[in-house]
Amino acid sequence: MTEPRLPQEHATTTAAEEKVALATQWQLMWWRFRKHHLAMLGALVLIVFYLIVIGVDFLAYVDPNESDAQRSLVAPQPIHWFDDGKFAPYVHPLKGRRDPVTFKRVYAPDLETKVPIQFFGPGFEYKFLGIFKTDVHLLAVKDAKPEESLFLLGTDLQGRDLWSRLIYGTQTSLTIGLVSVALSLLLGVTLGGMSGYFGGMWDTVIQRIIEILRSIPTIPLWMGLTAALPNDWSVTQVYFAITIIISLIGWTELARVVRGRFLSLRQDDFVMAAELLGCSKTRIIFRHMVPSFISHIIAATTLAIPAMIISETSLSFLGLGLRPPAISWGVLLQDAQNIQALAISPWMLIPVLPVIVAVLAFNFMGDGLRDAADPYG
């Protein structure tokens, strides 16, 4: 690339400045995004979350639906990390018995025996990524059954392991957010694009629809729609029905952003130039306009995901969203619905944490993306 020779007094451009001048749009965005520390942190947390989504079977150490009344409501169990000053994590096995007065099951650790915890040890068999057959898990116990001795986060009323359930719930909740947002994006970009590009009648009608949808309280509406789902539908059918219901309302915000971008870009000089040069409409839209607002769309999409996650969690919490045996954060929180349950088993509130962390991470990352979306501004 031949740069024109600059006069002597301007020749002080440093290598860094030259780099900025030559950088592509995406490079500039990345640099700006990198400077937003909270956004970087959010991105990092999300990477971890989605690694969990990929590796659920590896991270869970027991089948999330395996229940046993003998292990009902075990409290989270402390792990002893050091044995005799050496790093050798172990747990004490629990002995459960029924309290003769309250009829509650109580558990006492058997301090005599130690069950060593093994990293990357064998457990139940599964197919990693659906391809490789293996039985290696992050956590396993030596010479014992994990479902009988390992209770990282305790168990629920049916004696199902909360840690493993939480891991599987993470998979459902985080993917349902993505699928709903993809559907919303499709609706939002199509309708918002039509609204912004054609204008006139289209614009009026679509804008009115958006205004109407936004002024309806969403939860009652969702509740009504999900309550109408047939009871005999399979878990997968309900999953997709829920994503569709959630995205039916979620698309409005994305449509608004797309429309705004189209409207402002339509008057920009470079679009006018392309028009004067005789470019076709398709070429103007996809070659000139889309690349300049795609970053905004990505930012708006990221910011839309947490709302979807919260919607799913709320609906499932009410018992109107995903139904057991499906596991999601909302389904898990159903067990923490009343004060009696919370009083006896406060650890049932643990699924609140991943929801908050994931929503925060998406919000931070979305904020950073939005700031970085326009690197020339």
């Binding site: 009115r208 205004e211 109407i212 936004r214 002024s215 309806i216 309280p217 969403t218 939860i219 009652p220 509406l221 509740m223 009504g224 729609l225 309550a227 109408a228 047939p230 947490p306 919260i310 969690t313 709320s314 919490f317 009410l318 018992g319 109107l320 929180l333 923490a336 619905q337 004060i339 919370l342 009083a343 406060p346 509130l349 609140v352 929801v355 908050i356 929503v359 925060l360 919000n363 931070f364």
Partner: protein
Amino acid sequence: MIAYIVRRVLLAILTIWAITVLSFLIIQLPPGDFVTAYIATMSAGGAGITEGEAQALREQYGLDQPFHIQYLKWMGLIAQGNFGMAIEWGRPVLDVIGDRMVLTIVISLAAIVFTWALALPIGIYSAVKRYSFLDYFFTFLGFIGLAIPGFMLALIVMYIGFAYFGASVGGLFSAEYADAPWSLERVWDLITHLPVPAIVLGVAGTAQMIRIMRSNLLDELRKPYVMTARARGLSETRVIMKYPVRVALNPFVSTIGYLLPYVVSGSIIVSLVLSLPTVGPLLLKSLIAQDMFLAGTIVLLLGVLTVIGTLISDLLLMWIDPRIRLGRQ
């Protein structure tokens, strides 16, 4: 100005119409119809219903006719103030909803008042003292507030109330006033119970409002007229409160329109957790029992209330913003 009002009112009517269609859709969606459900409940309760009575009911609601005719019949009944029967309760829908609707409105309003009372001063402070410790503190709190859905906050508050104060924070009335007729003492009892639900419901909205207020005011503070006012020796309070805050308030007011559906939505699910006697728990129960006339009416009434609230906020905006009042459009 008149054109603006007319446009707004027309839009509100259009929205209400859309809501009636959606509510009716909800009534229609589940398999079977209202009468089959009614018969099932009646016979489960031991009280049979004759074929003739069933036929009469079907005719009253036009259940043997196509969708749009049924819809028109339903609208006709509503126009006469007949919202149908709440099957489970064996009483007219309006009887069942009555008090609970009022309490839903009261809680929503309390949440909005809380939101405003907190967001306004904090937003102004954050903008004026940008990058100060408290600004960062409130920004941080705001992010957390936005990330916690209302019902989770309710769960957490309930747990903390139980574990550390040994008190139940749920409910809207003390036991002795729960079923008492309205009196001054009962109203006072209600007021003392309002803060917890209002705060739980208002937190997310407050966080959002603080952000909006802060960025609006920051935009205004950069403008030359603020510098002019300072240069002319106005006191700092006057410089800030008299002009920029007033201008920054406009978008603030217009967001009530969006705040209202949000708060009403939230109140449904928060009420369930905190066992508040609003329409929320009733709606959930009616949906699960497929008591569709009750559910449809609740969705309809909530929707209509929201639209009216939005309309009021638009008119309010017009009143405080001369640019709209004097016809920018």
